[in-house]
Symmetry: C2
Subunit: 395 residues, 2 copies
């Protein structure tokens, strides 16, 4: 049986494979990016869903528009985007079956095999996989504790003229780092100067524990070259698979055509649940609630790390998002640590798959603090810390 | 802004564009392939959904497995497939966000630009669009009132060695025709002889009004080269976007990897609704009910056509599915008929976009009988018949 060239060497997401481990409830998992089940607005969703199926079943169970369920697109334009300083029209908006689909549709609409795509290093490995399947040539800009640096970005843009730049400016995955406002403005300028499409993937931005919101790259966009991906996976529910994107009308149109041939349209009921959740005014309060929960979990994990990890394991205190990025000394292999940690029923994600440069990031790993209760966070970090010390002693 | 080569000349689905017309409730629509809203099992879905969100919200609102929601995959293996003479294991099964996604994933997993894909002529235009975006080279085998003919198929397979053959053997879209058992067996043999992947798209098969079920192509498959797409869009609800595919384990694995980068996983709640619908034993009775409804609608439409259409408009009495395929005399343009019909508030789909051969099918059109109540079917067919006679008189 023939396998397409684009699939050669694509072995599947390390994180998706990790999900299989999660079936064992004894495993303390800092892998994945799962929201806490305590943060799902279960009762509200149940109530909304029942009303929707009582009042709008004829519409919701029928085929829908590829562009999306109209009340969701309007709620996005009327409430979500203005909250981020953004304004637009219906033709700027496309509903997605999860924001990963946005990346897939952007690749379909824009990328020819061999085109250069610029990514942060490290970056979200699901996105890297999508770009690999699109047969893009990846180049990277390093991410630092204060986000990406404008001079490094400009250098790589000048050198490689990427067709698009994929970034997660706020509470980046996997690093948790935030790119500052001045750099964001410069990204928008570079998008105009080099006619480069910028994908601003923004699933974590509302999960802020402390400090001031940073303006979106899109809010500095004067050339209509920035497209925003907005996910409800971290704020309402990932299992519903509801996201939206916002950007250039011509591009949205091409993505819509690509979506016709991908899943025809996103499920109506799911879009309607999110639309109602927004329209009934639950969003702000819910985000305040879950940000508080995650801030507490992050704090718990950091305190445990400060206590149980050797001081030569480097990490930053997160100000939002879901992740803590850890760096072991040069020469360490997080892969080995991972295999031994799983034996002790603790899981995380080794950092190498988040990297594009061959061999980079072997000594890094990502911890997620949102999926486990506090006592298991402390226990898991203790086991990890003990293991790291043991492995050091064996060296 | 760059647009990818694969999107050049792809203008979007004519049917999807038609959906915009459906916003006007005065339009009698024989376009689309919408199930009747009277056929949605609304109360059962509402009841199931409420129980699922009461009992399983923690699981259903969380991220799920790319492979699909386990109870749905099991229900498919235990109830749906055996009902079609098919048996397999979990690794043969992948859940899809609508069966269109199956085509997209198959293209990603198998097709390189320039590869030959064989399709029936006419064929489902959504599939044709997906193959165009995959930059496949399309070749065709004609479909007749008794389905495709084995000798014609073999000739084109021998000549072009297609990588895959896409077909809808039962109540084909757009023709409504059924390919016979002997030809199906021959298709499976050709798949083995020429190492050709066969996509057996089967969304309409259970909507049979009369006559005996024909065995699936897959049931004759000895080389594991046939992959089945099973949709619940026509039997339960299209808005839920739940489908599954069944086939070769290696191929399913590649499709799963492609799906990781497409929408990560299909929405859990939607999969769970369908799984419960099957597991609670509603399926057979519901299919019996809707087949009866559609048989009545089809009969109503055929009787109106017999009465109001000139005898030189050709069509077959459907034995299942959702469509009646019409052929006007040579030289007619169904496109013109369409534009004038819309002025009289009747819509259908002109046949040309279902064709691959340039210029073919201009004198054909597709009528759907499942979306309108009987009095509107009669009224719409009368208006169409009157219009056809008027246009004839103007020639």
């Amino acid at each position: 049986m023939q396998i397409a060239e684009r699939m050669q060497g694509v072995s599947g997401s390390a994180i998706r494979e990790l999900f299989k481990l999660l079936g064992d409830p004894a495993i303390i998992s800092f892998g994945g990016g799962n929201p806490s089940k305590a943060c799902f607005p279960k009762e509200v969703i149940r109530e909304i869903t029942d009303e929707l199926l009582r009042d709008k079943a004829d519409i919701l169970l029928q085929y829908g528009a590829t562009e999306g369920y109209m009340p969701l697109r309007r709620a996005y334009l009327d409430y979500i985007l203005p909250g981020n300083g953004l304004h637009g029209e219906l033709d700027n908006v496309l509903a997605l079956t999860g924001s990963m689909q946005g990346l897939d549709l952007l690749c379909k609409a824009v990328i020819n095999p061999g085109d250069v795509v610029l990514v942060e290093e490290p970056s979200f490995l699901g996105a890297l996989q999508t770009f690999h399947v699109a047969q893009a040539k990846l180049v990277t800009v390093p991410i630092h504790t204060d986000g990406i640096h404008a001079d490094e970005l400009e250098e790589v843009v000048k050198k490689y003229h990427p067709v698009m730049f994929y970034c997660i400016p706020t509470f980046q995955n996997p690093s948790g780092y935030v790119t500052g406002a001045a750099t964001r403005k410069r990204i928008a300028e570079l998008a105009a100067e080099y006619n480069m499409l910028v994908i601003e993937d923004d699933p974590y931005a509302s999960l802020r524990f402390t400090g001031e919101k940073v303006p979106t790259i899109k809010s500095f966009d004067t050339s209509d070259n920035v497209i925003v991906l907005t996910s409800f996976s971290k704020t309402i529910s990932p299992g519903l698979r509801v996201a939206l994107c916002f950007g250039n009308k011509d591009l949205i149109r091409k993505m819509t055509i690509a979506k016709q041939g991908s899943d025809t349209h996103s499920p109506n009921l799911n879009q309607a649940i999110v639309a109602e959740f927004i329209n009934r005014g639950y969003m702000d309060k819910h985000i305040e609630f879950i940000s508080g929960v995650y801030a507490k979990s992050a704090n718990c994990m950091i305190e445990a790390m400060d206590k149980y990890f050797p001081e030569w394991v480097r990490y930053e205190r997160p100000v939002g998002g879901l992740f803590i990025w850890c760096t072991l000394p040069e020469g360490w292999e997080a892969d080995k640590l991972f295999r031994r940690a799983v034996e002790r029923k603790v899981a995380f994600v080794p950092g190498e798959p988040f990297h594009t440069t061959p061999g980079a990031g072997k000594n890094t790993f990502r911890l997620n603090f949102s999926a486990e209760p506090e006592e298991r966070i402390v226990e898991g970090i203790k086991r990890l810390g003990d293991l790291i010390r043991e492995m050091k002693a064996e060296m």
